[in-house]
């Protein structure tokens, strides 16, 4: 039964409304980042457009302009401006730190996961399901429980407050999903191709590297994006394992000071943090959707 014109339009309207509702918090958040405090804290009602936008929050967090200077520009006293504050609101280093760790852990994860996933896909062995379950169960441990042992371990290994340390930890958490995801993509590639290649004289390793791997590019892209997003947004372990390195979520949490919560800078940095991940997702969206089912579509 072909839907009527009316039904189609209704569906369109509902779809747009639903998506709009989901977009609203982000839009509100981004809007708040250009509002002066009086517009954010207006107790008489929500302020949509009735304010003069200010780029100051971004100037401080992204351009490294000092708060004090902004205070001076507004004709104020520097002393009044210093009444509360984090180390500094200049977040460019944080964005860089987060990027380094996210990219690093993505690469390491992909390396380990593709090897494991290929093997699990091609070679059957006793206890395979249990092994897979063991990998998945790494995710069950609450991060809180991991903090102390890892802090001690890192101190002994000299990994505390290093990029490498955090990369390793993020890799650990990303591996389960990456392996499962990639395995489902490898499963999609028919075994016959492997066999054909090996009959032709290729070793197992060559088959993997030269033939099969290129065929799962989409899956690798999807896994890469998920790993990147997770690492980019991870909070608890980054908080406890670093001092000088400040990833973006940790940096944002320092904007809650003992005298005030600096909503202006929080919203500005928060909005900036969304952009890179979103771009990635857009690029690989097709593969992402397919991969998330983790192969359960096969019976």
């Amino acid at each position: 039964m072909e839907p009527t014109f009316f039904q189609k339009r209704l569906r369109d309207v509902v779809a747009v409304i639903v998506v709009a509702i989901f977009m609203f918090p982000i839009a509100w958040w981004a809007l708040s980042s250009i509002k002066p405090y009086s517009a954010i804290f207006d107790r008489s009602g929500p302020v949509y457009v009735d304010f003069t936008p200010t780029p100051d929050n971004y100037r401080v967090t992204l351009l490294g302009v000092s708060r004090v200077q902004i205070g001076m520009e507004q004709g104020g006293d520097a002393a009044g401006v210093i009444k509360g504050g984090a180390n500094s609101y200049d977040s460019r280093q944080s964005l860089a730190d987060s990027a380094i760790i996210a990219v690093g852990s993505t690469i390491v994860t992909l390396f380990l996961a593709t090897l494991a996933a290929y093997c699990l896909s091609r070679m059957q062995f006793v206890g395979q399901q249990s092994f897979l379950f063991w990998i998945l169960s790494q995710r069950f441990m609450p991060p809180i429980a991991m903090v102390i042992p890892i802090v001690f371990m890192f101190r002994d290994l000299g990994l505390r407050d290093t990029y490498l340390g955090l990369i390793l930890v993020h890799t650990l958490i990303n591996l389960p999903l990456a392996v499962l995801l990639l395995k489902s993509f490898f499963d999609d590639v028919p075994r016959e191709i492997d066999e054909a290649a090996m009959i032709d004289g290729a070793t197992r390793a060559q088959t993997f590297y030269k033939i099969v791997l290129p065929m799962v590019k989409g899956g690798i892209a999807a896994a890469a994006v998920l790993c990147f997003i997770f690492s980019w947004t991870e909070f608890l372990l980054s908080l406890f394992l670093t001092t000088e390195i400040r990833t973006v979520p940790v940096k944002i949490s320092t904007f809650v000071t003992s005298t005030a919560t600096e909503w202006g800078y929080i919203t500005a940095l928060g909005t900036s943090a969304i952009v890179p991940s979103f771009i990635f997702i857009l690029l690989v969206q097709r593969h992402l959707v397919r991969g998330l089912t983790l192969g359960s579509l096969k019976d």
């Binding site: 520097a78 002393a79 009444k83 001690f152 505390r160 001092t243």
Partner: protein, 510 residues
């Protein structure tokens, strides 16, 4: 250090001296600094005076702003030579002393000694978590600790007695440090545990009364003299101003947060109660205790509804936005009321808190060194870690940041944060700021009086951090939000008593 470095440092210090003595103009000074590779942030440059406004950026005359103690800097430069290039760290709450220290350190301390200081500024719970983690593993990640007075017992074995260290390391002892200058009540109340001095008092948020004089005048209300009158005034004010969206008071009653525990102890002590008795049993549920909690329940009823989700910063924000007419809370909030973007600039006055009713319980009747009084103090100290790998460098910094000069300036630059040293209270720079405006110090009299006369201190015992964060404010929160206890103050306090007594016994502290 190479000859070149030595020359450079001497050059810098000499330039500083010349500038201070007005032998150099600001522009020449800056040029020399640039030559030596020393950059100045806008802030630091402004500190040097000669800014757009008359009297420099901070309303201080050029003399005051430049009065960085040149002698001290020279001493630091000499003594700090061997340690140049080390990096020391500590983690702190974003209270004014740490923030200001952070701003000043690069331009002064680091320039003089070559020692870098990294201050990790995070919310208070994270400071505790990181310090706990550090001492558990003796990691030595942090060279100094910023310790809240309620944690002193927990960390006392991890820090070095600063006076002893001072006496034992004469070559590193800063001349003119003047230990007696520190307010004795503050040292006793914040930094001492079991006879050992654990650190140097660093900041002193303390409860005082802050009220909207304009509203009091408008309704012809007199300033309350004791807590009974205070409650009546709060209720009166809510009645009168509710229509304008203004409540009598604002509380920091966030469920499960230390701030609620602070409010509660003030109410408790203010009614003659105490947390522990001589035998180290919980007595917050005795007659005075119940009266105190009922009093607090009334205060919460007269606060904006979101008060049960606020800690001190939410409360401060409410007062600054004019949502409440008065509060007995941290004096640290006061300068914020006079900020340029504040709705209540110049409208608040500060006084010591109204008297306890019927009177204070004697400290001798309390356990664990608890000192009941209505002026609850939440001071912190800066302490030298046993596990630090750079003790000497950290010690130099610690002395610098607690020196007479820096502490006086912290009071003025740090938006009017209350001083630790007696000399700071009388320092001309501080007295000059006792006017309406950002960084005001006009509440200092109230603070000093409270420190000297009605300062209340929490018990000192190793599991206090646990009790005051995880147990007491959670049960109180259940009562205040109606999750449990049905509004029955006694039932709630009895439950708390059971938990506290149990944990104290379990830890072998009784």
């Amino acid at each position: 250090m190479s000859l070149k470095d030595h020359d450079k440092k001497t050059f810098i210090v000499d330039a500083c001296n010349d500038f201070t003595a007005k032998r150099l103009t600001k522009r020449d000074f800056m040029r020399r600094m640039a030559m030596a590779g020393v950059g100045f942030s806008a802030f630091n440059a402004g500190l040097l005076g000669g800014g757009r406004k008359r009297g420099g950026l901070l309303g201080l005359g050029p003399d005051e702003a430049q009065a960085q103690d040149a002698d001290m800097l020279k001493w630091l430069a000499d003594v700090g030579k061997p340690y140049a290039g080390t990096k020391i760290r500590y983690t702190s709450e974003a209270t004014p002393p740490s923030i200001v220290a952070n701003q000043l350190v690069a331009g002064e301390f680091t320039k003089a000694t070559g020692i870098e200081v990294e201050v990790e500024i995070v919310p208070l719970e994270q400071v505790l978590a990181k310090a706990t983690q550090d001492v558990q593993g003796q990691l030595g990640t942090y060279d100094l600790y910023y310790l809240d007075q309620s944690w002193m017992a927990t960390f006392s074995q991890d820090v070095i007695d600063p006076r002893e260290y001072y006496d034992q390391n004469k070559e590193l002892a800063m001349p003119g440090f003047d230990w007696d200058d520190f307010s004795k009540p503050l040292v006793d109340g914040i930094a001492m545990y079991n006879g050992k001095q654990c650190g140097i008092p660093f900041d002193i948020p303390i409860f005082i009364l802050m009220y909207r004089k304009d509203l009091f005048d408008k309704h012809n209300i007199a300033v309350p003299k004791d807590l009974d009158e205070y409650l009546k005034v709060v209720q009166q004010m809510t009645e009168a101003e509710k229509g304008n969206g203004i409540f009598g008071t604002a509380c920091q009653a966030k469920s499960g947060h230390y701030s609620l525990e602070c409010d509660w102890t003030f109410a408790l002590w203010g009614h003659g109660g105490s947390i522990f008795n001589k035998d180290k049993m919980f007595v917050g549920n005795d007659e005075q205790g119940v009266t105190g909690l009922k009093f607090y329940q009334e205060l919460v009823k007269n606060s904006p509804p979101s008060a049960t989700t606020w800690t001190w910063d939410g409360q401060g924000q409410a007062l600054t936005q004019g949502a409440a007419a008065m509060a007995i809370t941290w004096g640290e909030d006061f300068p914020g009321f006079d900020a340029n973007d504040s709705k209540v600039k110049g409208l608040f006055e500060a006084l010591p808190a109204p008297k306890e009713v019927p009177g204070r319980r004697a400290a001798a009747d309390c356990g664990f060194n608890e000192i009941p009084a209505v002026g609850h103090q939440g001071g912190s100290a800066i302490a030298l870690s046993q596990y630090s790998k750079n003790k000497e460098a950290a010690w130099l910094f610690m002395q610098w940041v607690c020196s007479k000069d820096v502490m006086a300036r912290v009071s003025t630059l740090g938006g009017g944060a209350s001083p630790m040293r007696n000399s700071s209270f009388t320092d001309p720079r501080v007295k000059e700021k006792a006017v309406v405006g950002p960084g005001t110090t006009r509440h200092f009299d109230a603070i000093k009086w409270t420190i000297d006369n009605q300062m209340g201190s929490e018990p000192d015992m190793p599991i206090w951090a646990d009790l005051s964060n995880n147990d007491i404010p959670v049960e109180l929160g259940k009562l205040l939000t109606g999750q449990d206890y049905n509004g029955d103050a006694k039932a709630c306090l009895d439950a708390i008593g059971k938990i506290v007594d149990g944990k104290v016994a379990d830890a072998g502290l009784r």
